[in-house]
Symmetry: C2
Amino acid sequence: MTESKINLKSKLESIKDYWSPKVIAELNDYQFKLAKIKDEFVWHEHNDTDEAFIVIEGSIEIELESRTVELSKGEMFVVPKGAKHKPIAKGEAHIMLIEPRDVKNTGDIENELTAKNDIWI
Amino acid sequence: MTESKINLKSKLESIKDYWSPKVIAELNDYQFKLAKIKDEFVWHEHNDTDEAFIVIEGSIEIELESRTVELSKGEMFVVPKGAKHKPIAKGEAHIMLIEPRDVKNTGDIENELTAKNDIWI
């Protein structure tokens, strides 16, 4: 599935739901995921891994316990392992996530925002 | 060093040499690198890892033994572990590479194009 080239904007067109990351590529045991996001996510943390956010379209905020990181299109940030964070997008934003396979989007939390893993587009 | 947000275009402005990837972020034991490339690289392979290419600006070709993958801005491709490949850019192109720390840019080859690792910008 990763043997073809991947056009990020074309892949994003097929995503309808917010906060529901879809896998577009694998790199060893890591995955590249695309997501459309809007409004506030839930505070959570990933105890075993860092998590990279790259903004493809729009702008987002990543609230950390001590500060807020504002990211616009073409900017990225790596949330350190174990850092509580809450992503926010005031308008619709498109992001790429890079993290190990099987990382749950809501980390240590399980709620209605918890998305199914390994859904490829 | 990865605790700040990273603006890809700003980071690219500080890169002068072609084919000399610079580290901008780490994700666990993986690195995000930016590079400016132009003309032909050398055929090589990475025996222990896949390697992700994302085109930030311009367009590139990745020659594989059986075919050539053409990538434009906003497109990505993962070169599978052990696959011989040769990146080419007919004009200047800007790319992001994602791969484990300590991967040598020329893989199994050592020549004048071999770049020093772990140079952060």
